[in-house]
């Protein structure tokens, strides 16, 4: 699907710190956490430091008194992306948040209460619902436009971008804030371990579990907008590794072979597949970017921000494959325009 979204704001929270600059340049320090089912064997994980002063103001918000850590990641990333946007414009801003696991900590704690004590906390249950953090963010930041919580693997981001494009074409909102967020809980180690996705300290096979959020503020691209997302494709579904390989080949074969490709499948099982299908293509020149671990929809957002940062006069366009880990593959096309490519004012204007 052709979309014409101008990226006009960015925000990020990651284990590397708060802000897009940290995302691009800072090396995160792993912590050690044990899986619930294997308490004697710690795994390296990448966590967001909730003691960062940036979170203090959100922790004082009455609306967020019971909110999950993921909500704090989200609201901080959202506020960064909205920097400079007036309250009036915020009121006409739509909000789309992509999740994979959602509020996994509260869900685990709630169900653990049922299993262990035969009772559960009524205060926790509403916060387990996928769209609760979306509601919190919209309320705290005064975003009165449409709001959707979308669920999926990394490709939920593709769906989110398409949805934003539709809202803007329908003029339901003036601009859309799109975010992805995940939070860490020890139960995810049990889950990832069971499907052999995790990385031991001594091995490069598998990923580190991670957490965080990131997002972009977009509007319909006008002639003066330099940074754009121009294509969003998904629907390359798979169940098995064989189907994934076929889907990846088809996905890349349907894209312009001359456009540089940004590699984003880091240390997950799709990494070797990505290398194979992109080996004959030009690659985006990427500096040594710190490894941030795997946090599904948050990771997808981090890759979008990092890929956007690669755009310049020498690399004005690139392809960003979106490697969904358990449903489908997708692809985004990003571009930046030089000032000389902006449409000129007409001749009459220039005379005066």
């Amino acid at each position: 699907m052709k979309i014409e979204l101008a990226v006009i704001g960015q925000g990020a929270v990651s284990p590397a710190g708060v802000g897009v600059d940290a995302l691009l340049h800072r090396e995160p320090a792993p912590a050690s956490v044990a899986a619930l089912g294997q308490p004697d064997q710690p795994w390296p994980v990448l966590r967001v430091d909730l003691k960062d002063p940036a979170f203090a103001r959100w922790q004082r918000e009455p609306r967020l008194r019971r909110a999950s850590s993921m909500t704090f990641f989200l609201v901080e990333a959202a506020e960064q992306a909205l920097a400079g946007v007036s309250p009036a414009d915020r009121a006409e801003t739509g909000l789309i948040v992509a999740f994979s696991a959602g509020c996994i900590t509260y869900s685990r704690r709630f169900f653990e209460g049922i299993v262990r004590q035969g009772m559960a906390s009524p205060a926790l249950f509403p916060e387990t619902v996928f769209n609760s953090p979306v509601s919190h963010v919209a309320s705290v930041l005064g975003l009165n436009g449409a709001a959707y919580a979308l669920v999926g693997d990394e490709t939920a981001w593709v769906a989110a971008l398409k949805t934003a494009s539709v809202w803007l074409q329908k003029e339901r909102v003036r601009q859309v804030l799109i975010l992805g967020a995940e939070e860490f809980d020890p139960i995810v180690l049990d889950a990832y371990r069971s499907v052999r996705w995790l990385r031991r300290q001594t091995s490069a096979n598998g990923f580190l579990a991670s957490e965080g959020a990131a997002g972009i503020l977009v509007r319909r691209a006008g002639p003066e907008d330099a940074t754009r997302i121009t294509t969003a494709r998904d629907g390359f579904i798979y169940r098995t590794k064989k189907e994934a390989a076929l889907a990846a080949e088809r996905l890349l074969s349907e894209s312009d072979p001359a456009k540089p490709c940004y590699q984003s499948a880091q240390h997950n099982w799709l990494g070797s597949l990505e290398k194979r299908v992109t080996e004959n293509r030009p690659l985006a020149p990427v500096d040594d970017r710190p490894y941030l671990g795997e946090a599904f929809t948050a990771s997808a957002a981090w890759h979008i921000l990092r890929a956007l940062s690669c755009l310049n006069d020498q690399v004005p366009r690139l392809l960003l494959p979106v490697w969904g880990l358990n449903h489908q593959l997708g692809l985004l096309e990003l571009e930046t325009r030089k000032k000389s490519e902006f449409p000129r004012q007409d001749a009459d204007d220039r005379l005066f």
Binding site: V129, R193, G235
Partner: protein
């Protein structure tokens, strides 16, 4: 660009029946599906009943595949298949004739029961690394049920999973309409699914939102909701696409509105302002006045707060037309099906428009006075309806409304 949208197919599995026509006939006959719940242990809960569905047999799938399916998929696959069949989009092998078919889906819990099973075993620490059960943990995520439907019915393409709590089903259908309206799709399979799970059941029970009595929407003596499960889908197409392939439109989707109510995470604002706004937005898009709406399928959960606010909102929205517009909540019959609610209730509204028969407001003893004149009685019909509306609210302040019409308004 804005194109007109038609509904060409319907399919549902509900607690009232294994397909849409059985469910509809039972609904119109005044049956409700409340029964003791035996899917999981409810010891310690206040409430011990629900409206559970019987998943239809999936005879054309291998037994191994069926064993791996989440209960949610067992509901969703037959409902989606019925919708495609009724739209004339299934081939002789039972697969979609459209190999690329956008899919707009709603759920709140996906295959949560698999996740619960996983967590229970982790907490028991009786698992082994190679346990096949563990490899199923990835199947609890909602995209896995979407993939189950896609693979069972042989289609791929864009999919979007909307999890806006109990308004999700209406959002999924409305979003599908948006995709078609702007030319991003010609035909979309849209709807929602939800299976009863322990976490969600206990969640509503510990909030004391479930009733230990009958579910009595819009009754002064209402005491809470009845949880249910279902899957329901519609096939939406641009009018041109339907015409090109010779499909018969069942009705038009003419209006969609969605808003967020910031008042409270689990309660609507007492004046129902966001709900009024969403109904006005949907009616405005449909180019109709509130008085032209013949029937509203209300959210009507039968909780103390929701129904009072909803009654106030209908009064504000309909004004003098309150008595002539007919209203009922079908949750008394099939329960609150959460992520599927907006979809299955939209199907009921569509069938009311097509047949002129109105779903009665069941279990009513002492109606809320403000809405009493509008509530549908037994065996009511209205053959001259031109427009119907389906309304949903959800946690997080999600509000959504859909308008379906016999024809387009000038």
């Amino acid at each position: 660009m804005s194109r007109s949208i038609v509904v060409t197919g319907l399919g549902a599995v509900t607690p009232l029946g294994e397909n849409f026509s059985i469910s509809w006939n039972a609904l119109i006959a005044g049956r409700d599906a409340q029964a003791p719940l035996d899917l999981f242990d409810t010891t310690g809960c206040r409430c011990h009943h629900a409206a559970s569905a019987t998943p239809p047999p999936l005879t054309d799938l291998p037994a191994k595949t069926i064993r791996r399916l989440a209960r949610a998929s067992r509901l969703a696959i037959p409902a989606a298949r019925e919708a495609l069949a009724s739209a004339g989009l299934l081939d002789a092998e039972g697969l979609s004739t459209l190999r690329e078919l956008p899919f707009s889906v709603a759920t709140t819990a996906g295959g949560m029961a698999l996740g619960e099973d996983f967590l229970r075993r982790v907490l028991a620490r009786g698992h082994s690394h190679r346990s096949p059960l563990f490899s199923r943990v990835s199947r609890y995520l909602p995209q896995q049920q979407v993939l189950d439907v896609q693979q069972a019915l042989g289609f791929a393409g864009h999919s979007v999973i909307i999890a806006n709590a109990c308004a999700s089903g209406a959002n999924a259908i409305g979003h599908a309409a948006d995709l078609i309206s702007v030319g991003a799709a010609d035909c979309v399979l849209a709807g929602g699914f939800e299976a009863l799970t322990e976490l969600v059941f206990v969640g509503f029970d510990c909030l004391q939102a479930t009733s230990i009595d009958r579910c009595r929407p819009f009754d002064l003596n209402r005491s809470g909701l009845l949880l249910g499960e279902a899957a329901a889908f519609v096939v939406l197409e641009s009018a041109e696409h339907a015409q090109r392939r010779g499909a018969t439109p069942l009705c038009h989707l003419t209006g969609y509105g969605h808003t967020t109510d910031f008042f409270h995470l689990t309660q609507p604002k007492p004046d129902g302002a966001a709900l009024v706004e969403v109904m006005r937005a949907a009616a405005t898009q449909a180019r109709i006045a509130p008085a032209q709406i013949g029937y509203i399928n209300a959210h009507g959960t039968a909780t103390a707060v929701n129904d009072g606010v909803e009654a106030t909102a209908y009064g504000a929205f309909l004004g003098d037309a309150l008595g002539s517009t007919r209203i009922s909540s079908t949750k008394a019959a099939i329960g609150h099906t959460l992520g599927a609610a907006g979809a299955v209730e939209a199907l009921f509204a569509i069938e009311a428009l097509r047949s002129g028969r109105l779903p009665p407001q069941l279990n009513l003893q002492t109606p809320i006075p403000e809405i009493a004149p509008a509530l549908v009685g037994a065996k009511e019909s209205s053959s001259d309806m031109q427009h119907v509306m389906s309304v949903n609210l959800g946690f997080g302040g999600s509000n959504a409304a859909l308008v379906f019409s016999r024809s387009l308004s000038p």
